[in-house]
């Protein structure tokens, strides 16, 4: 078991390394930041000085080597724009994205799983068919459009909720969250719903498919033959089996939500990592972009690993390296 975990860790590390090389190479080709930083009247000599200062005159592979060694210490250089440490900038904004993503996934699961089970139990009922049609709408509609519509409805027309920005935050140790106060929630709810729409649709589909697959199995029939209450048949026998694909996919989607928050944060002016990324791309603030991408790569790779391990914990049939 241990050997397998180590092997997976090494694989993950390799993936991160390769991605870092790709990211670095790609970003290297984006514009010339020196032109942006220096004033238009700067002489070539001055530009050269800046270039040398930032280490941009060294050969590519050497820059990469320096990049890697610094990256290992989580030093991605300073923002071209503000001069602050790139990594610090991102970490400052992470809790905002974190609470948004977490609330969105929570809503998706809380709503999606029961609806999906219902749709799987009674596929022909009117409600089930409405749920399935609704789910098509849910994942077809572009994310930003849903956000816009929500703003139009709840902020402009009804005036119930704010159209953007983050609410008041509270300190929770090193990080600040707006999740746990009412004002903060008012700001959180629309962007979270925007993300949740698509994810909820996905969870409904996965849950329904898993339910449809598990229901005809012999062990469900046997559970009924034992005279168990239907509540237990569905709530224990069925649920434990469908949770496996749901948690697996839900876990992976969490990573996607983190990344796609870029769009939602732009629509709602949410001060998270995503908004920072867009601004940095537009402003050619390379260190921040690199730091963001590397953080995402590591995060996703770790998430994949965690989901894999979680899968083996959930499904007793699959134990890493264990005998059947």
């Amino acid at each position: 078991m241990l050997a397998t975990i180590i092997r997976r860790l090494l694989q993950t590390g390799l993936v991160v390394l390769i991605m870092s090389a790709l990211v670095f190479t790609a970003l290297y080709m984006i514009g010339d930041p020196v032109l942006m930083m220096a004033s238009p009247e700067a002489t070539d000599l001055e530009r050269e000085a800046i270039r040398r200062n930032l280490g941009l005159d060294r050969p590519l592979w050497e820059q990469y080597g320096i990049f890697l060694s610094k990256a290992a210490q989580l030093d991605f250089g300073n923002s071209f724009l503000t001069g602050e440490s790139a990594m610090r900038l991102i970490l400052e904004r992470m809790p905002a994205t974190l609470e948004l993503a977490t609330l969105a996934m929570f809503i998706s699961m809380a709503v999606g799983i029961p609806l999906g089970i219902y749709a799987g139990l009674l596929p022909q009922s009117l409600l089930s068919r409405s749920i399935m049609s609704g789910s098509v709408l849910g994942f077809s509609l572009p994310n930003f459009w849903v956000g816009l519509m929500l703003i139009m409805l709840f902020a402009v027309m009804l005036g119930w909720l704010p159209a953007g920005g983050r609410g008041p935050v509270e300190d929770f140790g090193p990080i600040q969250l707006s999740l746990f106060n009412v004002e903060g929630l008012k700001n959180l709810i629309l962007p979270a719903l925007t993300i949740a729409t698509a994810k909820c649709a996905l969870i409904i589909r996965v849950t329904r498919a898993a339910t449809r697959e598990c229901l005809p199995q012999d062990y469900i029939k046997f559970a009924r033959a034992k005279g168990l209450r239907e509540r237990r048949v569905l709530g224990v026998h069925l649920l434990k089996n469908i949770m496996i694909p749901i948690v697996t996919i839900g876990g992976l989607e969490y990573g996607q939500v983190f990344a796609f928050a870029v769009v939602t944060e732009t629509v709602f002016s949410w001060p998270g990592m995503g908004k920072l990324l867009i601004d940095s791309i537009v402003n050619l603030d390379r260190p921040v972009v690199v730091a963001y991408l590397m953080l995402t790569v590591v995060f996703l790779a770790t998430l994949n690993l965690v989901v894999d391990i979680g899968y083996t914990l959930l499904d007793p049939r699959v134990r890493l390296g264990g005998a059947a």
Partner: protein, 312 residues
């Protein structure tokens, strides 16, 4: 337990000729497709949208990019208003530059659909080729190619597109390239899966024994059978591509201002949303939503029909 037996020989299609299994399959496909009213509605909407886009220059009340026809006094007029001499009705209102929103939508539809179709076609071609090659040769080539595909697929498409566009700059061709890079992996994986199923079938063995060249086997024999699942992916991917392009344009990194797609129109209208001039952003948004949902309905139903598990 309950045996359902097909009607036995004798009940064939009228005019049993060697072509009729194909004709029968097509007829059955059409019947299955039309069984879903939603999918048919989606297809109709899609075809209408394509027609509207193709014929936009003729049916649009105004050419919104011909600056000479714009009258700045007509900016931000609500839907239903007319211009000063009543010759032109702005059915959906005008935007900040006095462009007729309806016309802008029709022209924007062109760009959106064009980008969507071209990128899907290219991704289809590239991805399928890669997938087929991987499946046919197997072994190391297969493992390597699929590793690349997996890595690509695990990374959120929006980030890949953003980085690419940051590198490549603005322009419709750059957007198409970015979309192709994001999408080809889906096709590769599906093509490979379908091809592997085919590879193990006997007729491929037979063709190999006859020493047919490998690309002939792939092209003439394996590919036609891989088409159904790929069609499903292509349809759903078309919707994704259009939505992704809209998202990228909305974020400001997609198509240039001179050739606005629906996403760009929505982006332009966003700033006016909060002040009450909703139509600049709302109607292009509705148009986008309708097109994307329509394509998804078609693709969803196609998936139900062409899913191998449903085939008897």
């Amino acid at each position: 337990m309950s045996r359902v037996v097909e009607p036995v020989a004798g009940a064939t299609e009228a005019g049993a000729s060697p072509r009729s299994p194909q004709a029968g399959r097509w007829r059955r496909f059409v019947a299955q497709f039309t069984s879903s009213k939603a999918a048919v509605a989606g297809l109709v909407v899609l075809l209408l949208s394509i027609a509207a886009a193709v014929f936009a220059p003729w049916i649009a009340p105004q050419n919104p990019f011909d600056l000479a026809t714009l009258d700045i006094m007509d900016a931000k007029l609500p839907p239903g208003s007319t211009n000063y001499d009543g010759s032109l009705t702005y059915w959906l209102g005008t935007d900040g530059q006095a462009r007729d929103v309806l016309s802008a939508i029709l022209y924007g539809l062109r760009i959106s659909l064009f980008v969507g179709f071209v990128s899907v076609l290219a991704a289809f071609a590239i991805g399928t080729a890669v997938g087929l090659v991987a499946a046919y040769f197997g072994g190391r080539i297969d493992a390597l190619l699929m590793r690349i595909v997996d890595m690509q697929l695990s990374f959120p498409s929006i980030l890949v597109a953003l980085v690419l566009l940051a590198m490549l700059g603005k322009g419709i061709d750059k957007v198409i390239i970015a979309l192709v890079v994001v999408q080809w992996a889906y096709f590769a994986r599906a093509a490979r899966a379908a091809a592997i199923v085919e590879r193990n079938k006997e007729y491929v063995e037979a063709a190999r024994c006859m020493a047919l060249s490998w690309h002939r086997i792939l092209w003439r024999h394996v590919l036609p059978n891989c088409i159904p699942p790929l069609m499903v992916i292509a349809t759903i991917d078309l919707a994704h591509a259009i939505a992704l392009e809209a998202t990228l344009s909305f974020l400001g990194v997609g198509v240039p201002v001179t050739e606005p797609s629906l996403g760009m129109l929505i982006s332009n209208g966003f700033e006016f949303l909060l002040s009450g001039t909703y139509w600049i952003c709302f109607f292009p948004g509705i148009a986008l939503a309708i097109v994307v949902v329509a394509i998804n309905l078609v693709g969803d139903h196609l998936r139900d029909i062409l899913n191998p598990r449903n085939e008897v």
